[in-house]
C-alpha cells in the first residue's frame, strides 16, 4: 500500500473568483494504486480543486507536489505532460472517428519521421488499442467502429483507455457516471476497479453519488465551503457516516 509518499499532493490551496472564495486552504493526497474520492455538496469546491490540479486554473496560493517535487502548471498541457490526465464529463471524444483513432488522437503512431508526410500506422494503432482495452477489461469488440455508435459507458472507457495507454500517473475523473444508466454505471465502476488493480495509477474520483464513490474508493475527503472538513478511510467508515459528515458540514456552514 502507501509505503512510499503520495503520487500527487495539493497543500493548503486557496483560490478566489472575485469576492467568492472557492477554496480556502484545501489539501489532498493521492496514492498510486488507490482511489481517492472527493465528496461534498454543490459549490463545496470540488471542481475548482481538480481544475487547479489539471492546470485549468492557477491557485492563488498553496503548493502542488508531484512525486515529491513542487510543480507549477500554466496550462492543461503542462499537467498532462507529467502524467496528470483528466477526463471531464463532456468527454474529449470525436464521435465520427474510430475507437483506435480516438485513443491515439494527437499522439498518433506514424511511419518514419518525415517532416510533411505524416502517414498513420493504422494497423499498429488498432492492435495497440485492442491491447489497452483488454488491459482495462473493456468489452469493446471492434476498434474500427465509430465512437458515436458506442454507449455512454463505453465512451467513458475509450477516454480512460487513452489515458492508461499514455501512462498516466494520476487519473482525474469528474462525475464519470453522471449521465449513465445502471448497467453503464456498473461498467465504469468496474473500469475504475481494474485501473486500481494495475497499481501504478492514482485515481481521483469526483461524484455526487456517495454509494458509488464508497464502493470503489480507498479514501474519501469531504469538502465544504472550500475546506476539507473530514478525511476517512473507506474500510473503517460507512456510507451513513459520510452522509452525516456532509450534511452536518453543509448545515453548520449556514
Amino acid at each position: 500500500m502507501a509505503t512510499s509518499g503520495p503520487t500527487v499532493a495539493m497543500d493548503e490551496i486557496r483560490k478566489s473568483f472575485g469576492p467568492v472564495r472557492a477554496l480556502d486552504g484545501a489539501s489532498l493526497k493521492a496514492y498510486s494504486g488507490q482511489v481517492l474520492g472527493i465528496l461534498g455538496d454543490n459549490g463545496a469546491g470540488k471542481s475548482t480543486m481538480i481544475k487547479i490540479l489539471s492546470g485549468v486554473y492557477k491557485a492563488d496560493s498553496g503548493k502542488i507536489i508531484f512525486e515529491g517535487k513542487d510543480v507549477e502548471f500554466n496550462s492543461p498541457m503542462d499537467a498532462r505532460r507529467i502524467g496528470i490526465e483528466t477526463i471531464y464529463q463532456d468527454l474529449a471524444i470525436v464521435n465520427d472517428l474510430s475507437v483506435y483513432h480516438n485513443i491515439f488522437l494527437a499522439r498518433e503512431k506514424l511511419w518514419g519521421r518525415l517532416p510533411v508526410v505524416k502517414l498513420l500506422r493504422n494497423g499498429r494503432m488498432a492492435n495497440d488499442a485492442v491491447d489497452v482495452l483488454k488491459e482495462v477489461n473493456a468489452d469493446i469488440q471492434n476498434v474500427n467502429v465509430k465512437v458515436g455508435t458506442l454507449s455512454g459507458g463505453q465512451r467513458q472507457v475509450v477516454a480512460v483507455a487513452r489515458s492508461v495507454f499514455f501512462s498516466a500517473k494520476v487519473l482525474i475523473m469528474d462525475e464519470p457516471t453522471a449521465s449513465l444508466g445502471v448497467v453503464e454505471t456498473r461498467r465504469v465502476l468496474n473500469l475504475i476497479s481494474s485501473i486500481k488493480e494495475r497499481g501504478n495509477i492514482a485515481v481521483i474520483l469526483i461524484a455526487h453519488n456517495i454509494q458509488q464513490v464508497m464502493s470503489v474508493a480507498d479514501q474519501v475527503i469531504i469538502l465544504s465551503r472550500g475546506k476539507v472538513v473530514a478525511e476517512r478511510e473507506v474500510k473503517s467508515s460507512s456510507v451513513d457516516e459520510v452522509i452525516n459528515l456532509i450534511t452536518t458540514a453543509s448545515l453548520g456552514s449556514r
Binding site: M77, I93, N95, D96, L97, H101
Partner: protein
C-alpha cells in the same frame, strides 16, 4: 488494417450500398440511359469531354471536402480559378518568363487561402461569410486588372504543356494531374495525420483541442490547400485550348460562381457532410463524375439547357436527404 476491417472493406454489397458506390452506380445508370437516347454518348471523343468536365471541378471539389469535413467552406475558389491565369498573362506581358509568372500566380492563390484561413481562425468570422467576402474582393480584382477583357494566354514551352496545355503519352496532362491529385488528397484525408486532425476538428473542435490537436493550424492549412488547388486547376483550364492547337484564354470570368456551386455540389453528392466530421475525397470524384455525365448527356441528347440545373438541384437535395438519414442511422448504432 486488421482482418475484420479488411473483410468489411471488401464486402461487395457494402461497396454498392456505400455512399461513393451508389453515386458511381447512378453515373453508370445515367450513361446507359444517355447512350440509348444518343449512340454518340459512348464514343472516345465524348469520354474525353466528360474527362474535361471532371478535370474542371473535381479537384476543387476535393479541396472543398478538406474544408467541409471541418465544417468550413470556400466560396472564393471560382474567383481564384480566374485570378491565376490572368496573373500569368500580366506577368508575361510585363516581361517575366513563365517560370517566374506561374509560381507568382500560385503564390497569389496561397495568399488568398491564407487570408481566408486567418480571417476564420483569428478574427473568428464564419468561413461562409469570410470566403463570401473574399469572393467579391477577388472577382472585382479580376475585373479591374483585366478591364473586363479576355486575353490570349501566353505560350512558352514546356510550361504551357505542363500546366494543362499539352498531352503526355496521348493523354491530356491535366487528366494525369487530376488523377495524381486524387491519390495524394485521398491519402491525406484517410491515411495521414492531417486528415485525422481535419476530421476531429470538424467532429468535436473543443475536444480535439483539449487532447492536443492543433485545430487552428489544421484549418489554415486546409484553406490554403483548397485555394491553391483552385489556382493551379484554373491555369489548366486557361491553357486547355493549346492541347488541340488552339489558343488558351485568360478569362476574368472563368470558373466563377458556377465552379463554386459545382464544387460544393460534387462534395455533397459524394457524401461529405456540411456539418463537418465526415467525408471522403473519392466521394468528391464520384460526385463530380455524376454531375459531369449529367451535364454532358443532357447536352448530347439536345435537352433544354436549363434541365441540367434542374436535375443538379434535385441531385443536391436528394444527396442531403441521404446524408441526414445515414447520420441518423449511425447515431442509432446501425
Amino acid at each position: 488494417m486488421n482482418s475484420a476491417g479488411l473483410r468489411e472493406r471488401l464486402n461487395a454489397r457494402r461497396i454498392v450500398t456505400s455512399r461513393e458506390g451508389s453515386v458511381m452506380f447512378m453515373s453508370v445508370l445515367l450513361s446507359i440511359v444517355f447512350t440509348s437516347l444518343n449512340v454518340n454518348f459512348m464514343t472516345e471523343r465524348n469520354f474525353v469531354t466528360i474527362g474535361e468536365l471532371i478535370t474542371g471541378n473535381s479537384v476543387v471539389a476535393a479541396g472543398q471536402v478538406m474544408l467541409m469535413v471541418m465544417g468550413d467552406i470556400d466560396l472564393s475558389v471560382g474567383a481564384v480559378y480566374a485570378l491565376t491565369p490572368y496573373l500569368v498573362y500580366l506577368t508575361y506581358t510585363a516581361g517575366m518568363p513563365m517560370q517566374i509568372g506561374i509560381p507568382l500566380s500560385i503564390l497569389a492563390a496561397v495568399a488568398v487561402g491564407s487570408a481566408n484561413g486567418l480571417i476564420t481562425v483569428v478574427l473568428r468570422v464564419p468561413a461562409l461569410i469570410a470566403t463570401l467576402g473574399m469572393n467579391f474582393v477577388v472577382t472585382a480584382t479580376n475585373l479591374i486588372i483585366s478591364n473586363d477583357y479576355q486575353q490570349d494566354m501566353p505560350y512558352q514551352q514546356p510550361y504551357t504543356a505542363i500546366f494543362g496545355g499539352g498531352k503526355f503519352l496521348g493523354i491530356e496532362i491535366s487528366f494525369i494531374w487530376t488523377a495524381f491529385a486524387f491519390v495524394i488528397l485521398a491519402a491525406m484525408l484517410a491515411r495521414m495525420r492531417h486528415g485525422l486532425w481535419s476530421l476531429s476538428t470538424g467532429g468535436n473542435p473543443a475536444g480535439a483541442k483539449e487532447v492536443g490537436v492543433n485545430v487552428n493550424l489544421t484549418k489554415v492549412r486546409n484553406f490554403i490547400l483548397c485555394s491553391t488547388l483552385a489556382g493551379i486547376w484554373g491555369l489548366f483550364a486557361a491553357n486547355h485550348n493549346f492541347v488541340f492547337g488552339g489558343i488558351g484564354a485568360a478569362n476574368p470570368l472563368q470558373g466563377g460562381d458556377t465552379l463554386v456551386l459545382e464544387s460544393i455540389a460534387s462534395a455533397a453528392i459524394g457524401g461529405t457532410s456540411l456539418f463537418g466530421g465526415s467525408g471522403t475525397v473519392i466521394g468528391a470524384f464520384f460526385g463530380s463524375l455524376l454531375i459531369s455525365v449529367l451535364q454532358d448527356g443532357l447536352f448530347i441528347t439536345g435537352a433544354n439547357a436549363y434541365s441540367y440545373d434542374t436535375l443538379l438541384g434535385i441531385a443536391i437535395i436528394l444527396s442531403m436527404v441521404l446524408n441526414m438519414q445515414s447520420r441518423r442511422r449511425s447515431r442509432l448504432g446501425g
